[in-house]
């Protein structure tokens, strides 16, 4: 399928980067960018394809992060098992929040508010609970061995997060061509019409939320392994809720590559601004705020979405590139 081929090409290109670039600064930037892209891919499942705008994805990032950190620090569990446990925990929290919100029939603003509230509750609880280290946070012991999911070389971290992003891309690709994905998109476009056509909207949204939460939780788990430190404002802070939604919206909501493109663009602009004006706090987020407004105003389907629209317009006018139905059958 063309889609999988495109993913393979993009991943291959990205995989070559550490072979050409040896600067730790640049590699660090790329690792963080890919991690944010991963978090954004998670948001994109429920927000982009599902049309349910969550303002509290930090709840899943933080849960993934804390679960893996707590298991390692307090219970001596192996880091890789902790990683998986964090993903499962994140997905479970997604199921709980989604279950409560969707069964109550919350949509749009109300849904955004309730997700925001859940993330805040978790943040406050984490800032006082002893098991999370309360105000001080949790430090994972330095142990640079592969079995502890820690690596001497940044390049290895890069490949790990790249692999995770690749999985995210494949999940989105699967979504676009599966019945589940078609149902999810239908619910996004018009929930009542979808129900009349046999779609169990609540179940579909809930499943999407679990998948979405699990992916974002994976980003949280990765954060812990890379930085070896977590506290409540990092884990459950609004910064990650915002970055997780910003990247797919700018890159292209509801597209396979949207979150990745968005992360690259957003983070590059942020770094670029810092280089020009010096490392003043707040500047990068200011730029993100402006970008969000500009994208909604002028290119609401994001970069990838707008390009796809142009392509579709060309198809209708000139007959090329090939039509969707032909591609699928071929």
């Amino acid at each position: 399928m063309r889609g999988v081929l495109a993913i393979a090409v993009v991943i291959a290109v990205l995989a070559v980067v550490p072979l050409l670039v040896h600067s730790n600064v640049v590699l660090n930037f790329l690792v963080v960018t890919l991690m944010i892209a991963l978090a954004g891919q998670g948001w994109n499942i429920i927000g982009g394809y599902g049309g349910q705008y969550s303002f509290g994805h930090a709840a899943f990032f933080g849960t993934g992060a804390y679960v893996t950190a707590i298991l390692q620090v307090h219970y001596g569990v192996n880091a890789w098992i902790g990683f998986l446990a964090g993903i499962v925990a994140g997905g479970a929290v997604g199921g709980i929040i989604g279950g409560l919100a969707f069964r109550a029939g919350l949509r749009s603003s109300y849904f955004a508010l309730v997700t925001l509230a859940f993330a805040e509750v978790l943040r406050i609880l984490a800032s006082v609970a002893p098991i999370t280290g309360a105000g001080v946070g949790l430090l994972v012991k330095l142990d640079l061995r592969a079995q502890s999911f820690q690596f001497q070389s940044r390049a290895v971290f890069y490949y790990v997060v790249l692999a995770l992003v690749a999985i995210g891309l494949l999940i989105a690709q699967w979504l676009e061509h599966s019945r589940f994905g078609t149902w999810l998109i239908a619910v996004r476009e018009n929930e009542d019409a979808a129900m009349a056509l046999g779609v169990d909207a609540t179940a579909v949204k809930l499943s999407a939320m679990v998948i979405s939460a699990a992916i974002t939780a994976a980003a949280g788990c990765f954060y812990v392994q890379y930085f070896l430190f977590i506290d409540s404002s990092i884990a459950y802070g609004t910064w990650i809720s915002i970055e997780a939604l910003l990247t797919p919206i700018i890159g292209g909501v509801g597209t396979v590559f949207g979150a990745l493109v968005g992360a690259l663009v957003v983070k590059s602009l942020g770094e670029g601004a810092k280089l020009v004006t010096g490392d003043v706090p707040g500047l990068d987020l200011m730029i993100y705020g402006v970008m969000l407004i500009l994208v909604i105003a002028f290119a609401p389907r994001g970069l990838v979405g707008t390009l796809t629209d142009l392509r579709a317009g060309l198809t209708r006018r000139f007959g090329f590139p090939r039509k969707t139905a032909e591609v699928v059958r071929g």
Binding site: R179, N190, D192, A196, L197, R316
Partner: protein
């Protein structure tokens, strides 16, 4: 008359202080066309909402193919074979015509390629075959009505609820779509249609129910119903039937 596929028994529905449906009953036999008519505000769409699972009745029952389906949610009813169109069309605006119908087709066909082919066939049936790749929001009103119909058909229903599917169409568009509807009935699909376009009701429906102010006030074949003084009064006001008779007498 053939055995009733759909049976609505004494359904009432209250909204706060307003009793929108008052013990309304109707039946629809399999593979026949039944019409539900009545003045605006009578509660016809509310009744459809109850039958299709979007509203729970305050009292009464709905039976379908021998099962009690009262209060079941819309997606379960779709699986049972009940499909509906909406009075105000609800396309998946951002998706293509093909993808719109695909959603319906997926109910019975899990695999995408298979479902796409089914969707294409349905599109041909309603006359949208050459518009498959167009975004739904670029269709005209008539096109959107056809799309609404196509989506519902793709779910392979045994009962089709059409809510004013002819509204907003000009006479030639109506002339084009009426045979499509008749063809569906010939295929064995039971149809219940809410309609204001009387010529279509007269030519299509075999049995007619009249709903006014939440109550069924008359039923019968189209000719009987149109002559019924209670029906005339429901549409034209009290005393209108007597006036009409008086005028005729002269």
């Amino acid at each position: 008359m053939a055995e009733a596929l759909l049976s609505v028994e004494s359904v009432s529905r209250r909204f706060g202080g307003l009793l929108a449906l008052k013990a309304a009953s109707l039946t629809a036999p399999a593979a026949r066309i039944t019409a539900l008519i009545g003045p605006n505000g009578a509660g016809k769409t509310t009744l459809f909402a109850v039958i299709s699972g979007f509203l729970k009745p305050t009292a009464g029952y709905v039976h379908y193919a021998g099962h009690n389906i009262t209060g079941e949610p819309p997606h379960r009813l779709a699986r049972r074979g009940i499909a509906r169109t909406f009075q105000i069309v609800q396309p998946f605006a951002g998706l293509s015509v093909h993808d719109n119908i695909l959603v319906g087709a997926h109910l019975r066909h899990r695999a995408r390629t298979e479902a796409l082919l089914v969707a294409e066939k349905v599109a041909e049936e309603v006359g949208l075959a050459d518009m498959l790749d167009r975004p739904a929001h670029t269709l005209t009103v008539a096109g959107r009505k056809r799309l609404e119909l196509a989506r519902a058909l793709a779910t392979e229903p045994t009962l089709l609820l059409l809510d004013e599917v002819l509204a907003g169409l000009n006479p030639s568009e109506i002339r084009d779509i009426v045979p499509v509807i008749r063809g569906l009935s010939a295929r064995g699909i039971a149809i219940v249609m809410i309609e204001h376009v009387m010529q279509a009701v007269m030519s299509l429906a075999e049995h007619v129910f009249v709903l006014a102010e939440g109550c069924i006030i008359a039923e019968g074949n189209p000719a009987q119903v149109v002559d019924n003084p209670a029906v005339v009064e429901a549409y034209l006001g009290r005393g209108a039937a007597a006036k009409a008779r008086a005028v005729h007498a002269h």
